[in-house]
């Protein structure tokens, strides 16, 4: 890089750090370390998942969110422990950020009986109800109307809890999205709609799928606040979602937050990446949300390089241990398969 360009880039980072300084101080070391830890755990979980898949150790499908980690982690960082989430098929990061036990999560990915869903759900349906993770659902947009009901129950039960409802950019073209934002708005439900906007619904680019610049403008139709943010900046995500969570908790109703990010990997295991260029992927890889956050932590004087790398290494060790342990766990038995279909 030419000296002038490098200087300009340095300036940009400095400005960024200056802007973030108050926020870094407010969040404090522990919370920031937690955010980095959850992002790293998500990255390593998915790299491990991919490795296990390539080695032929995984029976089913999976949807990787590598490159998107700031969106779930920054959003969930704005919640208290009692708050709730409902999310989607590309949901490993949401489950991890909401405090999932990684070993039990890995066990579910491997279809084991001790997994979160006792091997019935797999990667696409991880739920931890006592932990406030009300589950991942696999039909695009299908979690959004269900989220309205969760928000409605919170309101009717006079709860202080807030719900985050996550979905992708593709979901915002479904009728369910529009019916739900409208309904949540007229009832002032205590929830935040969060778009993990990775810019592709499978192969369909957002630019081809809608005639608007920003998904957040859809909020205008429903009379609620909408904000599009740099979804690879975990602190920007946190700030936007925190404002929306505060509004929801005050009883002022829902908001829409559009976290613009990018998935590095294909949609799922069948993807041959025919709909985008390598250059585009490389450009986004250069904006890695984890590297950017590490840089902010270093330059903001929050952590030393050793501390940052120690968090990353510990996250990797957690994942490795979880994968080893999960692999030894028992498979579910087909006996009594129908037992869980109906509640007693």
């Amino acid at each position: 890089m030419a000296t002038a360009e490098r200087a300009k880039a340095e300036d940009r980072v400095s400005i960024l750090i200056d802007e973030k300084r108050d926020l870094l101080a407010e969040l404090g070391y522990e919370k920031l370390a937690w955010m980095l830890q959850k992002m790293c755990e998500t990255r390593h979980f998915e790299e491990k998942a991919e490795e296990l898949y390539i080695r032929g150790l995984v029976h089913g499908t999976m949807h990787l969110s590598i490159g998107m980690e700031a969106s779930p982690v920054g959003s969930i960082a704005a919640l208290g422990p009692e708050d709730l989430i409902i999310h989607h098929h590309r949901g490993h990061g949401h489950s991890i950020a909401k405090g999932a036990d990684i070993t039990i999560m890995m066990a579910e990915f491997l279809g084991k009986e001790p997994g979160y869903c006792r091997g019935r759900g797999g990667s696409m349906h991880i739920a931890d109800l006592p932990g406030g993770n009300l589950g991942a659902t696999g039909v695009v947009a299908s979690g959004i109307p269900t989220a309205v009901g969760i928000g409605l129950a919170l309101q009717m039960q006079r709860s202080d809890q807030v719900l985050l409802s996550f979905f992708g950019d593709g979901a915002t073209n479904l009728g369910e999205f529009h019916e739900s934002l409208n309904m949540a708005s007229i009832w002032d439900l205590p929830m935040v709609f969060i778009c993990d906007n990775n810019q592709y619904g499978m192969s369909m680019a957002v630019q081809r799928a809608m005639n608007i610049e920003q998904i957040s403008t859809r909020a205008i139709s429903y009379g609620i606040p909408g904000k599009s943010v740099d979804g690879n900046d975990v602190l920007a995500v946190y700030q936007a979602v925190r404002a929306a969570v505060e509004r929801a908790r005050r009883g002022d109703g829902p908001s829409l937050v559009d976290n613009i990010t990018y998935r590095w990997r294909g949609h799922s295991k069948s993807d041959r990446n025919l709909y985008r260029t390598q250059t585009e992927i490389d450009n986004w890889r250069a904006r890695c949300p984890i590297l950017r956050f590490k840089e902010v932590l270093l330059r903001g004087g929050v952590m030393s390089e050793d501390e940052v790398e120690a968090i990353d290494l510990a996250a990797k060790a957690t994942i490795d241990r979880a994968a080893e342990e999960a692999a030894t766990m028992p498979e579910p038995s087909p006996e009594n398969l129908e037992d869980e279909v109906y509640a007693p």
Binding site: Y116, L129, A147, G149, Q157, M183, Y342
Partner: protein, 338 residues
């Protein structure tokens, strides 16, 4: 014929519609987690008047008007149920459940199982169904077979005022999603109903008329039609037993098999189109059971024709079984195999 009226106090004559309303009111008084949501259920009182007057007692939070958003209505019911509420969603016409299907079939029916048995979705979806009102193809359907085919959902189709009250209370208290079919032509039907708050168990068939010669299995509107046909046939010396499964999934196989084993002849009657209908499942259940050994004639089905419901009165009546059709089919079956 059972006319117990459910409770212990002396029954009065009220309509099927009033029995639905009474079940809702009494259960909402008892359980604060029960609430109603749907289109025009508030000040309008519901498209058929079922919730009329309830807004005054329970207020707009529990008698909740919604926009015309059938996906979000079903989603709101599903999510609220997941959180421990007991929502009763009213879909204006059963036909509109097409818009709600993703929430009911992919969410409500499956969340318990796919989350490893750790969730429950105690919702009731009240669905006015059926033809006979001149409402044509998009406001007259009987879509029970779709839901019977979906593990995780229960389907209830009551035929009398006493049953509809007790079964609705039982459905609200059940911890699973229940599709609760109310035939529009039954709303005005009167019958004895106890004023008490009582439940009628799900998955329990009821023998609506005893007979030795032939079993008719019918549910919903086809029960009163089968009973009328049975009275006519009785004057000809043919004694028909009418079995009402009441719950279509899970099915009370035992009562059905016992009746068919006794009579040796069975006619299955429903309004929905014959192909892929619940009658096919009932026939298979009987054929798979010990009742097969007692059959003196083939299992017969009399069901809706494979057509959308037409508008014209004559065409509409011709599309689904009427009393005369049941009489003719039962008479013919009684002679088969002799």
């Amino acid at each position: 014929m059972s006319d117990n009226g459910g409770g212990t106090s002396a029954p009065r004559e009220i309509s099927y519609l009033e029995a639905v309303r009474e079940a809702l009111i009494q259960e909402m008084r008892r359980d604060p987690t029960v609430f109603i949501l749907g289109e025009d259920v508030g000040v309008y009182g519901g498209a058929f008047g079922v919730t009329r007057g309830m807004l005054e007692e329970f207020g707009p939070e529990r008698i909740r008007d919604t926009p015309i958003s059938e996906a979000a209505i079903a989603g709101a019911a599903t999510g609220a149920a997941l959180m421990g509420m007991r929502p009763v969603m009213e879909i204006m016409f059963m036909d509109f459940l097409t818009i709600s299907m993703n929430q009911l079939v992919n969410q409500a029916a499956k969340m318990r199982f796919m989350f490893g048995g750790k969730a429950s979705i105690p919702l009731v979806c009240r669905a006015p169904a059926g033809s006979g009102t001149g409402a044509a193809a998009q406001h007259s359907q009987s879509l029970e077979a779709w839901f019977v085919h979906t593990p995780g959902i229960k389907v209830v189709a009551p035929s009398t005022p006493a049953d509809v009250k007790g079964l609705l209370v039982a459905s609200i208290r059940d911890n699973n999603p229940v599709i609760f079919m109310e035939h529009k032509l039954l709303y005005r039907m009167k019958g004895p109903v106890s004023e008490d708050l009582y439940t009628t168990p799900l998955a329990k068939a009821d023998v609506k008329r005893k007979g030795r010669d032939l079993t008719i299995i019918a549910y919903s509107i086809m029960v009163p039609r089968a009973l009328e046909a049975a009275e006519q046939l009785s004057t000809e010396g043919l004694e028909v037993e009418v079995v009402d499964p009441r719950t279509l999934n899970p099915l009370d196989t035992e009562t059905i098999v016992r009746s068919v084993s006794k009579t040796g002849r069975v006619l299955i009657v429903h309004e929905a189109p014959v192909t892929g209908g619940v009658g096919a499942e009932l026939a298979a259940v009987i054929a798979d059971s010990e009742a097969f050994d007692y059959l003196d004639a083939p299992i017969r089905r009399l069901a809706g024709r494979n057509v959308p419901i037409p508008y014209n009165r004559t065409l509409e009546a011709a599309a689904v079984p009427q009393v005369g059709d049941i009489v003719a089919a039962a008479r013919a079956l009684a002679l088969e195999g002799n």
